[in-house]
Amino acid sequence: MLNRYPLWKNLLILLVIAVGIIYALPNLFPEDPAVQITGSRGAIEVGSSQQNRVERALEAGGITPKAVSQENSTLLVRFNHADEQIRAKDLLQAALGDDYVVALNQAPTTPEWLKSVGARSVNLGLDLRGGVHFLMEVDMQAALEQQLNVTASEIRTTLREERLRYRQVSVEDGQVRVLMASQDLLDPAQSRLMSDLSEYQFTQEPEARLLVLSLDEHAVREVEDYAVDQNLTTLRNRVNELGVAEPLVQRSGRDRIVVELPGVQDTAAAKRVLGATANLEFRLEAKRSADPLDVEEFEYRDRPGRTAELERNIITTGNNVANASVGFDENNNPQVDIRLNGQGGRLMSQATAPNVGRRMGVLFIEHKTRTKVVREDGERVEVREPYTERSIISLATIQSQLGSSFRITGIGNTQEASELALLMRAGALAAPIYFVEERTIGPSLGEKNIERGILSIQIGLALVVLFMLAWYRTFGIFACVALTTNLVLLVALLSALGATLTLPGIAGIVLTLGMAVDANVLINARIKEEIYHRGVSPQAAINTGYEKAFATILDANITTFLVAIILFSVGTGPVKGFAVTLSLGLLTSMFTAIAVTRMQVNWVYGKRHIQRLPI
């Protein structure tokens, strides 16, 4: 008998390998140290005038950039050396000022044709690239309490409006307890409140004249999800402000948020920005006749240069905003729905009742810090000074008296509406968030790690290759070709899937390479056994050897794969990185160890009758 693969099988295998090589290729192009310049707000354009300023500033500083390019309103300046990059960052920040964010970046040098098929180099984890890692925890207890307090004040307002007399509304043990004036008021109060507060479960304690509202597990989860989402939004906004390339802001588990900022070394600065607070203020637009002392002028957030005058008097603040979301009116035009808590609603209705027809502005207030270079005793000293930035995010006409729920209409499009809602939420009082863990990983340590990791892979691979060649000779060559293909495919998969490579991930690769050999050892041992123990002809031995080994390889790999999948689903961070490379490695090794070696064996031995097999 002869061993041949049909043409389509050979072509398919070669195609997979070719695709693998293409997608692994970007990793061979080293990244350029670069500086990325963006406007500190979306409205600030980065154009050719900025490019000229950048080029002049670099020339004055004696730095020759490798290339300066503009891409979607960001300016990318590439350098030849990392030390130039850091020097240039300080230089450019000083030259461009606070309106622009200058961030360190690693710019890929992948050629266009590779980029056009979606190929990219693999993401390096923080431990390999350096940067800071924060783990933050959202205070769920406080989030829940906040929600209950908002409800409690809504209940007070409603009951008062409906003239249902109550003695007290209090928040206790995750419940809102409403003490009514008399027992027979319980039913009307419940039926009135139920329509507004459908997410609550109502129970009555008639003896104590109590109406108890509690959230079920599902509703509690919803409140928690909301609190985490709100914090995620806020954190993303702030991270964008840091101008970090490829930041990661991710929910982790029920109440945690992971923030990873590659390339950032100054933990303190990052913490200040992440922990910064934003707020909202609602103010009436100043009348023309108003006393100038009672008037303040503010810029629009999205239209720098344009200003409006608002009264100094504040109606209410973001602390009283319970929620802001995008909605649609009857004509399907986008709007922002705002919900205030009881106190906010009261203040709002008092302030708007006599002022229908006037306009009300919403101010977004951020507390930030900036670095200034000042001369002190002839020396240049960096000083950090806190400052507050106020800008108008909305100025709309009051159509009628507003209460605790109102909406802002007349917004251009859905995108603008969701941005406004997002800003409102960011400025609203979010559930408190704490730093649980912080890590700074130096870039030098990262470099050393990656060097060592790669060195250990190379040495390990070389040893395995030598051993296989010595032990199996020709079949050893097949196995080594398969092993190399395996590495290429694994790298291609990791790159294409956008997986992040970490140190345990590298360890996972090394382990799969060691174990990938196992499949070939199994196959070769089977072929040997067929020939020497059962006296089967070489061609038949190859066939049965592969066949019998396949069942074993499948069973063994599926069990390991099960473990890897479970590690991935329950693990975090390092465990996950390890599981990803292990499971992908198992998949690629199944393919290479069986199909790729078989193709080679068929090519070399399959087409002729042979007496002996050098195995």
Binding site: L135, L445, R452, L463, L503, A507, A525, T552, V570
Partner: protein, 307 residues
């Protein structure tokens, strides 16, 4: 190399010895785990970790004296990678200044450089430990179901007991030698589960095949035959894996040192257990040909039969 193929070692004759060896090692492991537990790394206990780079190799006892004199308690000072790098671990909570405080205490900016200072929260450690433990339990369960489905429940029991044996011995190793048990070691432990299982399944796969096709000999003889038939493969695979792991241990740097060490011990224990424990357990569970009889029509069985 064909002469190596005709191995016929009576592994099962030494099974009592192996049982005693395993029992002693297990007792020592459990004893050590019960009395002194694991030396949990900072990932689990929480605290502050400061890495410093010296221009000239520092004298560690002197560094310890300096820290003690400054009022630090419960700290660990150790070399990290090279003689010029040291790692200071403090059980106190983290504040942004700690790193700089320690650095300025130990020398001026020119001679000592702060490489990193990080905080590891104990609570995080707890969460990860729970997840790791849960992961292990769920993995074991899934594997048992799969093996019971593909083989038979006695094989499932045998493979999982062999796994438990490996995991306990590995934990015992880290407990007895007081080596830091950190997250990378946990990852290694989970990998060992995969590896050792892989090894055991390959042996079981052969046992299943031989029970179905070889007509003469009792369970003991067949298990012995299967182990011998897979011995070369077991050895070569362990050898190639160990080659890679040793290169990790030696060249991979300090951060994956313990990871590599855990895997090396795990691979050795896993290889031993797949030869001795997995097979012997099957004997103790009274595995028989009937357990693996294929529900097939007559004649089909002949396909696999030998002349």
């Amino acid at each position: 190399m064909s002469k190596l193929l005709n191995i016929n070692i009576d592994f099962m004759r030494a099974r009592r010895l192996a049982f005693i060896l395993s029992a002693v090692l297990l007792l020592a492991s459990v004893g050590s785990l019960a009395t002194q537990g694991l030396k949990l790394g900072l990932d689990f206990t929480g605290g502050t970790l400061v890495e410093l780079h010296y221009q000239e190799a520092p004298d560690l006892p002197q560094v310890r004296d300096q820290l003690e004199a400054a009022g630090y308690e419960n700290f660990v000072v150790q070399n990290y990678g090279s003689s010029q790098d040291i790692l200071v671990r403090l059980s106190q909570g983290f504040s942004p200044q700690v790193g700089e405080e320690v650095r300025s205490l130990l020398g001026d900016e020119n001679s000592v450089e702060l490489r990193r200072a990080e905080f590891v929260g104990a609570q995080v450690g707890e969460e990860l430990r729970d997840q790791g433990g849960l992961g292990m339990l769920v993995s074991l369960l899934c594997v048992m179901v799969y093996v019971a489905f593909r083989f038979q429940y006695k094989f499932a029991l045998g493979s999982v007991l062999a796994l438990g044996h490996d995991v306990l011995l590995l934990l015992g190793f880290f407990s007895i030698l007081r080596i830091d048990f950190d997250l990378t070691v946990l990852a290694a432990l989970l990998a060992v589960i995969g590896y050792s299982l892989n090894d055991t399944i390959v042996v079981y796969d052969r046992i299943r095949e031989n029970f179905r096709t070889v007509r003469e000999g009792g369970p003991m003889k067949l298990i012995n035959l299967s182990i011998n038939q897979t011995l070369i493969r077991t050895t070569i695979t362990s050898l190639t894996t160990l080659l890679v792991l040793f290169s990790l241990l030696i060249f991979g740097g300090e951060m994956i040192h313990n990871f590599a060490l855990a895997l090396i011990v795990g691979v050795l224990v896993g290889t031993y257990s797949s030869i001795y424990i997995a097979g012997t357990l099957l004997l103790s569970l009274k595995v028989s040909r009937e357990d693996l009889a294929l529900p097939v029509k007559e004649g089909v069985l002949e396909e696999d039969g030998r002349p």
